[in-house]
Subunit: 319 residues, 6 copies
């Protein structure tokens, strides 16, 4: 059994105490017993429509106390194999994206360096650039597996280079991504022009719209994903607006007719065997949530990320 475990909810009710992810210990110092950390990047100055994603990490933590250690769909008792902590949040700089990127990179670099897998809770999608910088330092360019309603590959917005709509173009320009192994799934909604999707493809990304994935089916798409990302290091970026607004009303730029939570979970559960080096879950905006629906979806998806890490560890142990 790993060193850092969630509190036992048969000893103290799950609604006891400050909210850490899954009731894991809240520790802000790294050590060798950590297979993963959960950390927030509560930045939302990159949002182009609704703001408020800075409260996303809190909302996800608050619902996550309901999560229990055994994942029946993957048949694994997570903490039999791994150990992890709630690492607190990265001290972002509200209103200042360049400075925030420096903070994110500085915070995550030692995590990545020690081989600990970071799971970052957004914050808006602009934060991913900072994460990728930290990741690439150790791994070089990594594959991107992105679930999202938007490609986020504009060149600029209001003549500015950095915000949540340009993040992946910047990452490619900075050489952080291995585009030949990268793909985006879930694009949908009205666009400024036909070039919005074309541009992402011109950058070398494989792009699947929501309708395309629905027609193909999740199973088929999973094959596509595995084939595309191959065996090298992969970063998984999950924008909660991949989900339909009924499953994720609390988000910055909702687009109707998105994925169901069933599909989202089937996707993530089907990613076993991929060599993940980092994860994020972004764009949860609690002020537009109600009854914690968005938070529930987000917390469960992050839970599946943690499970993937446990599966990876178990596979290694069983080799």
């Amino acid at each position: 059994m790993g060193k850092y475990q969630p509190k036992d909810s048969f000893q103290s009710p799950r609604f006891c105490g400050p909210r850490t992810f899954m009731r894991l210990p809240y520790i802000e110092k790294l050590d060798e017993h950590m297979d993963f950390i959960i950390t927030g990047a509560p930045f939302d100055s990159g949002q182009s429509f609704r703001t408020g994603a800075r409260f996303g990490p809190e909302a996800i933590r608050d619902f996550s106390i309901l999560l229990r250690p055994y994942n029946p769909e993957q048949d694994i008792n997570i903490f039999d194999y791994i150990s992890g902590v709630d690492y607190g949040d990265i001290p972002v700089v509200p209103g200042y994206i360049t400075e925030t990127y420096q903070k994110i990179e500085a915070s995550l670099a030692p995590v990545v360096e020690q081989g600990i897998i970071p799971i970052v809770l957004g914050g808006d999608h602009s934060i991913t650039l900072g994460e990728l910088r930290a990741i690439a330092k150790k791994y070089g360019p990594v594959a991107l597996l992105q679930f999202d309603a938007h490609s986020d590959t504009w060149d600029s917005y209001f003549e500015q280079k950095y915000n949540h709509g340009t993040v992946f173009r910047r990452a490619i320009e900075e050489g952080l991504l291995d585009v030949s192994r990268s793909l985006q799934i879930g694009m949908r909604g009205s666009l400024y022009g036909i070039e919005d999707l074309q541009d992402a493809r011109k950058l070398g990304l494989e792009v699947y719209t929501t309708n395309q994935y629905k027609q193909a089916g999740v199973k088929k798409m999973l094959e596509v994903i595995h084939q595309r990302v191959g065996t090298g290091p992969v970063f998984l970026s999950f924008d909660i607006d991949f989900l339909d607004p009924v499953y994720a009303p609390g988000t910055g730029t909702p687009e109707v007719a998105g994925a169901s939570i069933d599909d989202a979970l089937e996707f993530v559960r089907g990613l076993g065997g991929i060599h993940f080096v980092g994860f994020d879950l972004v764009e949860v905006l609690p002020a537009y949530d109600h009854g914690q629906i968005t938070a529930a979806a987000a917390a469960n998806i992050v839970y599946e990320f943690v499970t993937l890490i446990a599966l990876q560890k178990r596979a290694k142990l069983q080799q």
Copy 2:
């Protein structure tokens, strides 16, 4: 035509008057003209996460005024065949589960004794034990048909024997259920351990997860149900968290990726011919509902229960 009918909504608008279920008469004294009663058991001290289900009966009643007497899917004008009332609520004892069980049993025993079918609105799921005690008094052990995200068969919680997570283990121990004819459908979500589901099965229950039912399809599952419960007396217990949180945000322990309301209705509508002796609908928690979504789902499911009773009566009359 039965004696007790809903108020005519062409005479007084449906939003007129105190809310009784479907605008039925509010009568707290039993008589021989009643085929069924609707009663609430507004108890929520058995809830292990969110509390507030004591306001569930009110919320269901409040939406139910929109329900009309002809069920087109079942092609029956309900009150041509049966008659029933809103019986008010059972005087539960907030904070005291043992005493509450006594009240529930005492309230329902005469109802059951007279051959009137009780439909109980929860309240949390712990109330079902009290109901089953009243039912078993007349019928002996009955089959359980449970729609729920959780098996509710733990041995104890915080070292206590009675709450909404242990209710069916207790019922089995007390000999109230014919486990050989009982089944549970809808289990899902993270667990404390692999034994959570195994235990339910060891107790003799047949257990189908949400994923299992979705793969099999509702039609196939209906066959399984009919075969399992057979011709003996059956109690139907419907926990609103069987539904996905988008259909039932207002509940105590929401688990993502649940059933759609379409499936739920198809299930209940497919239960004609089963010998039901009681029903409940539990875990509606209005404080987390919005736009009455949960209440709408719950009221419509209860409406289908009433329809089943009408179909049963019509079948008898047509024999």
Copy 3:
């Protein structure tokens, strides 16, 4: 002790059963044991801004279950002196004001005729015309004591004679009010023109703005009221928008800087000795309420109406 009493909340918790006002019996047939009735007039087609007041009676009932029979400020155990019921709602005609007036008058006339005091829950303020017609049938023109942010004495609105902004001009034109004994308190907010208040005064009404009453103080204003209404029959019409929006967010036409609930209660509690023949409480609009704040205010004000009736009865008995 009166015949009709609220349910005993030490026997069944107050959140049990269909919501009737104060848990009084729900009886739709008049008898001689009734000193007062509570009835709703769920009509909102007279609203000129927000609509939805048709759900006002339900919201008031739903909160009123918290009210207990002893009023410590007035030192009276209400039901030691009087007896009353929840009479259900008047079958208004949604969208049709003339027809609705007929229904209101037809419903209330026998109540008034038998000397039972009606307390009507709105609904928008247009309903008061129907009530006054029923009242005047028995008593002739009565004094109006109106608490309200608006005078509701326009001549017409969109060229129509009947809606919630013209009701008291119509009542005066129809001879239902004894304007020489009538007064309005609470007017405030921006107006279409200076004539808005002048018109009310030209009609013979005494008009006090919110600022005027605040400068005078409630005590002083109470003297003014008693002097004005005298000893003849009085109708009290309370528009919930008399209160500041923080106390009554759920209303149709909110005006900032209104009365506090403390002042409102002091006003109503200070009306002992006046010969009331009817009451209404209008413009509660639950869809804009939250946390039942507006409903709480409304239910408590109605509770004070009931207390006034009890005081009146006690005074008679003690003579």
Copy 4:
């Protein structure tokens, strides 16, 4: 490029300025550069259950600012082909349906006369009668394509001929519809009696319940639609309660187990080639919406209406 275009959201953020539909110019005077207008009919006195749809147009406009000019599913840059404006709202008469019909007709007649296609935002469904009167003036009886949970073909309600439940019977009686080419899709929910659906059919309408369309599939149903409406002029009336309450909680008379937004969009996108002369989208009731879910659905459906007009124009140009 058409004359009237949405504001460029790369120049000013989309959340800038008063909300007009899609950020189109707000112009209340017709001219020859308009292919379509968006106008509201904020009337809700025809609602038989919840009221408040008068704020529907505002809610739809408020969300529509997120819509962008390129529709990827239809592969068209809308404003390359057409030009349109936000025409403001029709000055309805709250509480007076007959007078409101006159206003609607008077407002729309010149629009229709000039060959501009009106897209009307409700308001409750009763408004459609006024629209059809204006349409029929120019086109004679038109086909009705109605997406709705209810047939709205009662004869009367509370003995009144005009409200949101009788509108299409009235339209047929007035000769405004070519019933032989008309159809309704989406009926569901409990009814007053078996005659509710029969009556619509007796009037000559083709009626498909939600379950029927789901069993047939959208593709199949689209064939049925095209065949039924033929090549003559068609009016499309979309009641937002066609959608399941999880997609449209903010509506007047919600019925569970409705259409998904995916299906709704597939329906509307499949209507290319039909000769539409007018559209409406009704029964959005923001006070029961949350997180703008209903508004998002409605705005996107209206967006598809606009797209259909653009496709129609492009087809003409390419002939």
Copy 5:
């Protein structure tokens, strides 16, 4: 400077990280550097009306991150004098009050024993009995200073001895209170009977209604308090329903016409010099809160408790 300080919000934005009270360290082990601890008692099975106060501690923590260390009204930089931590929550037993009392007592006894002052966040008011048992162990009977809308001195409720309405009678019976030095302020609202207040007085408590304190003024009342509680040890119990519902909508049993937050703060700020040995703040029920109004009030009142401890320490140091 004390050892345990809030995180510096100029280093990391205040919305960073898991929510602990005021961003204090989250430490579950006592040590000699702690002058006070903040701990939750998330129990709500004692609530007689609305339930959900188990989420009170989380809600208070979540807002408390906005609190800064310098209290200008008391002119003190709190952590220059004292040091404290967020101690997590007491592992209560949902649904079981007797067992919960044991847990509370067991948790707090060592805290009190070491001379650390506990500040307990409720939970419902029933928890105070457990706290007083722990306090009395060290100090013997203490004075009670209670701000509350209700006396909570019933003998029983539904024939049960323990719940949030009987707690102070039990405490007196158990000899935990020095009634001769105890007083209650804020009683208001309708009662079951005249004896409700009389009983509290018969028990020896001094009782001031809300109206009484408002007439006397806060300054005068503060003199009364100081005189009454004297120099011995005092426990301060603050039920958030002391406040008017507009300041505290999120509570279990709201009574209209309560105290303003201004008065509440003036009261607590005026308590310097009293020998406090413990504090609690109870009945915050977030599911009925909105915009964090209740949480803001509660967090600020607790902040004043912490300030009182700092003042006490400074006074000692300055002696």
Copy 6:
């Protein structure tokens, strides 16, 4: 009568059409008939706690449709004397404060230049710097009259010079303010240190806390204001958090125990005779509002600004 007037709400109901402030014409081109303009600055990247104030202008406009042209407290029919328009919003640059300042200045400079008085709707308080730059261009340093819970005179936050907490220090450093005539009213809440208020005073500002103004009374404070600002040009900046959170829950950094709306209105109404050259109303954050309480307060305060301009004009005309 001025050229630009609100739409007549007796002609079209006030809930008709796109929301412009008070239903004024929406015109984005200046002309000589404008005495004032209403414009939004929907920027919120300067917020240090909650974000979302970019939707403030929309929320204020949406409620403002209820405002009518005659102000009874000031006895003036506003548009008999002045004329103004809704000028739309300034195209801010989300996430980029420096660029946003340029846009604000560029937008407002021509307005100010032509002697038109700008009333700016925020947005967060950081926007005021851009406004003052435009104002000072014409008038040189102006007096600041600020109603606010916070001084906003920090030197930096997270090492950044520009955000909503540093705006007035920057303005002073840039020579935009005549500090000798400037004052701030309403400061309250916990602080980082005693220097927070001292710093504002060291900068030359006169600072009054909320408690200070409450003790002095509004009348007395008005004298102080008039004396301080004198006869030179004055800019009035009103942060909605000057109000207590019950009157303004929808704001970025709520502090309990603030001003009532009565006091706020009395303040603004008492400012006649002062030579105002610009106004703003900032920090309205609709996502945390409910029932439009905050929007109502804000719209009414802006309405009083407009009235002040009308009074100023009338005074000039009457000279």
